[in-house]
Symmetry: C2
Subunit: 198 residues, 2 copies
Amino acid sequence: MALMARKQGSHSDITGPKVREAALRLIARHGYAAVSMRQLAAEVGVQAGALYNYTPDKQTLLYDLMRDHLVDVIENFDKADPRSDAQSRLRAFVSFHIRYHLPRADAVFVAYMELRNLEPENFAAIEKLRRAYEDRLEAILRQGEAEGAFAMKDARITTRAIIGMLTGFFTWYRQEGRLPLEEVEAIYWDLVGKAVAR
Amino acid sequence: MALMARKQGSHSDITGPKVREAALRLIARHGYAAVSMRQLAAEVGVQAGALYNYTPDKQTLLYDLMRDHLVDVIENFDKADPRSDAQSRLRAFVSFHIRYHLPRADAVFVAYMELRNLEPENFAAIEKLRRAYEDRLEAILRQGEAEGAFAMKDARITTRAIIGMLTGFFTWYRQEGRLPLEEVEAIYWDLVGKAVAR
DNA sequence: TTTTCAAATGAACAGATGTTCAGTTAGATG
DNA sequence: CATCTAACTGAACATCTGTTCATTTGAAAA
């Protein structure tokens, strides 16, 4: 039959993304266990059965959302990383983290809050990705120590403290429009920079 | 009938606390929506109907757990607060936060992760308590600015950053026995102290 | 126009959900 | 001892759950 263009009228190109978007929105708002497949289907504008054209089951849908998000985060951080001196890299990390996560607040929230609802092997895979992102920050902190630019008592705990600090940001920023993004970024850079300074 | 001592054999003095403990443990582990009243009853060693001697409904049980926890946190912080110079008070805050929350990891987790599952008026009440605790930290930071001991770009955001940093701690410490509590406390104090230093 | 088939429907399934309540139990009280 | 009652049981309720699948739809392909 040779090469054939994808059907133009195919709904799956539209419905598929709609399912993922609606799932992120509903799960972020109500939690995985509290969102039923029928609620999700209604949000998409479809019957529950149709969702199973896009995911084998509810658990896999959650896992795919979390994995896709974390893979994107890591991939895009690696692009943004200047790979120069530790000070510049740390600054880039803080800036990237805030700017990249802000327009993806639902995905951040889900990837952070729904770990409990993953089956063991899915949990292990997601933890591995989360750890891979944390390891990138830890490497920057250790480089800074080696360069004599940073000083801290424990690079691993400092890594988690910084991530906790930056991530907590997304649990409240949406309500609070008080400050422009640039300002928030400057405030966080001030805190992080001073915390690890020599 | 005059004054009468409480029945000695009364089970409600035993079952009541058991219900709250089991609820905290199960909800922390699996999430509010994922825990059924029958699971909770089984954990307590009772039939589902008996739970309704201890709570009018599932939602109120969640709300009571969160409220009791936050009220205790605030009450005990106020006792621990030295009310002296900002530097001492901040140090006491960090120390209190870590030491008080550590043996109450389940309650911390529930009070932090289950906000989404509160009905609007319960949510408002819990948010008020959370805010009251944050305000105590913010007051310390502003006192430090006034004394010339601290310098920061924005006291409100710094408050949330510090709380986020300290709270993130409880999402991973249970697994990681690598360092003794005193050491973790010292590491956090180092980070917080430097971050707000002049 | 007829054929084709991806996409969606809608009913059905076995079981779980929060909550209520008449009835049972067991231990303290008088 | 008999009485009382707080605590609990166990069945029932209406409704919701994730998932399956035979059937229908509608638009692109031939």
